[in-house]
């Protein structure tokens, strides 16, 4: 590109910006509507991507295979004898029984996830709770959270009261997965649910290095046909599908709200008023080529859509990663009573941002050029007759 071509681009860009400045009201309205639309869409994209990423990171530490016993199509307690037979399968490195379950706390009106933990086995009467549990037990509505040495009374399955003392709280960073969690010693867990010592909720199986979990799961099903093996990969895919589904739901809900805005923006962007048509006629009459006018209109459309794109994406980034996704929090996180308060780890999928760019900026820019092209192809002498 030679110097005069660069100079021409600069002049045309200058006039495009000055033309936009002359129609401040229309252009500010367009940028605002467009920014809002992009903000909403980018917020959904960032939320879903980040939650999927968060889920993937969290699941890295989960068991490769979880074995559950099924009775009449529902999960039932699994005998510990199953662990012995599974541990003999070739490729299995270890088998650990787990005890966990859901507990409805009538005082707080919330469901907790109770889990036995081996590190607490010699600390009967103690427990570690998630931040959601701590918040939910503020019965007196004094904004006081449960802390160390506070007591939660659990009602056991046979009607007795078992008070447990808070000895620790999970850090806020883990709240996505620990909000409703209560860790306790195995003996207390068995008391609350009256589970026999020869039974567990499920078994977690670790495959040896290089061993195929799918093959091992197949062998477990062959030995114990009444069991179901859940692979980590399956859980991850389920999480991703759930977050995609929730993201899709938000987009569907937003579509109804955003549609009128988009129509308004479309109408504003694609309609040339009499003054704009007159200006195009003048430019043609004084020697501008159709391509020069289209270039000017291209810069106008590009300036609006790029400004809106960057503002929308930056606002969405702030909304999701700095303001904890306040607009979509409840929809994306789930239906639990104990909504976790957490800050998502910033994760931006470049492919998704590029897709957003190509699905918004490019069509908008093209759409704004089309009516100008119609006006720019008229005979320049039309301006002589205005």
């Amino acid at each position: 590109m030679n110097l005069s071509a660069i100079g021409k681009q600069r002049y045309i860009l200058d006039l495009a910006l000055s033309s936009m400045a002359r129609r401040k009201g229309k252009n500010i309205a367009l940028v605002m509507v467009y920014t809002f639309t992009l903000f909403m869409l980018a917020s959904v994209v960032f939320s879903v991507d980040s939650l999927k990423q968060e889920a993937a990171l969290t699941l890295q530490d989960t068991p490769e295979i979880t074995v559950q016993r099924q009775v009449a199509g529902r999960q039932d307690l699994i005998p510990l004898t199953y662990a012995e037979s599974i541990s003999r399968i070739k490729g299995v490195q270890s088998v650990e029984p787990r005890l966990w379950g859901y507990y409805y706390d009538a005082f707080s009106g919330a469901n907790y996830t109770l889990m036995a933990n081996t590190s607490l086995s010699d600390r009967t009467g103690d427990m570690v709770i998630g931040a959601g549990v701590a918040r939910r037990n503020d019965i007196g509505k004094t904004n006081r959270k449960l802390g160390k040495n506070d007591i939660i009374p659990f009602i056991t399955a046979d009607g007795a009261v078992l008070p447990l003392t808070v000895k620790g709280l999970f850090p806020p960073a883990s709240e996505l997965v620990t909000a409703d969690l209560v860790l306790m010693p195995e003996t207390d867990f068995r008391k609350i649910f009256t589970i026999h010592k020869d039974q567990a909720t499920d078994l977690v199986v670790k495959a040896g290095n290089g061993k195929d979990p799918v093959m091992i799961a197949g062998e477990i099903s062959r030995i114990h046909p009444d069991t179901r093996s859940i692979l980590r990969q399956d859980i991850l895919q389920t999480y991703q599908a759930v977050f995609d589904w929730r993201g899709g739901m938000i987009v569907m809900l937003l579509a109804g709200i955003l549609f009128p805005f988009v129509i308004l923006a479309w109408d504003k962007a694609t309609g040339l008023n009499a003054e704009e048509k007159r200006e195009i006629g003048i430019l043609k009459a004084v020697g501008w080529e159709t391509s020069d006018i289209l270039l000017m209109k291209f810069w106008e459309g590009a300036a609006i859509s790029l400004a809106a794109f960057f503002m929308g994406v930056l606002l969405a980034y702030g909304h999701i990663f700095l303001a904890s996704s306040i607009l979509f929090e409840s929809v994306l996180q789930g239906w639990s009573v104990l909504y976790p308060h957490f800050r998502l780890t910033p994760y931006v999928n470049g492919y998704q941002v590029a897709a957003l760019f190509f699905l918004t900026v490019i069509p908008y820019t093209v759409v704004t050029v089309v009516p100008s092209w119609r006006s720019a192809t008229i005979d320049p002498d039309s301006v002589m007759r205005i």
């Binding site: 071509a5 021409k8 009459a285 020697g287 002589m384």
Partner: protein, 228 residues
């Protein structure tokens, strides 16, 4: 020199509202002179000016501008000729509102991409020549009628065209400003420009700056020298 050979311009051909605006005009305009096209409204003056200035193409006939036949050229080629050869002054001035007088003057040269300082100096020189340097940075909507027209004249001159075309330039000016305008045209003719003005204002046709008056009626030339 400009030569028109049997030019016809028909609007909406073949339709019920077909209208013959120019009907077989033959005309030769010499270089470095001033020609006035005179005639009542609807006589075809503006249409003929549009064709002369390469802003519209005739339905039939030939046009030669500076020894070059242009009637068969593409729109893009005509734009290039229009930009380099013609400077047009419109009846309504047609300045772009919201920008300064100086910017309006510079606009026709933007697509040429020349250095900003060079272009700005040339535009300022033209405004100075037309006693408008003091209004260079005023937005055009704040200019008086005479100032707006002088801005339009400066804009027509920015690419140093050989031919100046003006359509009813005095229609919105009082007598003093009309005489002032004709004085500027006289000066431009003296500088070697070819001037073509369409007007039914006697101040134009009777001005000493005009060398030849071509009278039009119903799309035809009725001047003794022009053949209908």
């Amino acid at each position: 020199m400009i030569r028109l050979d049997n030019i016809r311009k028909v609007f909406n051909p073949g339709k019920p509202n077909e209208f013959v605006a120019i009907d077989g005009v033959n005309l030769t305009i010499d270089a470095h002179g001033a020609t006035a096209l005179k005639g009542p409204s609807g006589s075809g003056k503006t249409t003929l000016l549009s064709i002369l200035a390469c802003m519209a193409q005739p339905t039939s006939g030939g046009i030669t501008v500076q020894d070059r036949e242009i009637s068969s050229l593409s729109g893009q080629s005509l734009t290039g000729i229009r930009r380099k050869t013609f400077g047009v002054i419109f009846q309504q001035f047609h300045l772009i509102k919201g920008i300064t007088s100086l910017e309006n003057v510079m606009i026709p040269a933007y697509p040429l991409g020349e250095k900003f300082s060079t272009l700005q100096k040339r535009a300022m020189d033209l405004l100075d020549l037309l006693n408008l340097a003091g209004k260079a940075y005023s937005k055009v909507e704040w200019l008086s009628g005479g100032e707006a027209q002088r801005t339009a004249i400066a804009r027509a001159l920015i690419n140093n065209p050989a031919i100046i075309i003006a359509d009813e330039p005095t229609a919105h000016l009082d007598t003093r400003l009309s005489l002032e305008f004709m004085e500027i045209m006289r000066q431009l003719k003296k500088d070697g420009k070819t001037i073509i003005i369409a007007s039914h204002d006697p101040i134009v046709s009777e001005s000493g700056a005009i060398d030849r008056v071509v009278e039009m009626r119903d799309g035809r030339i009725v001047e003794p020298g022009g053949v209908a």
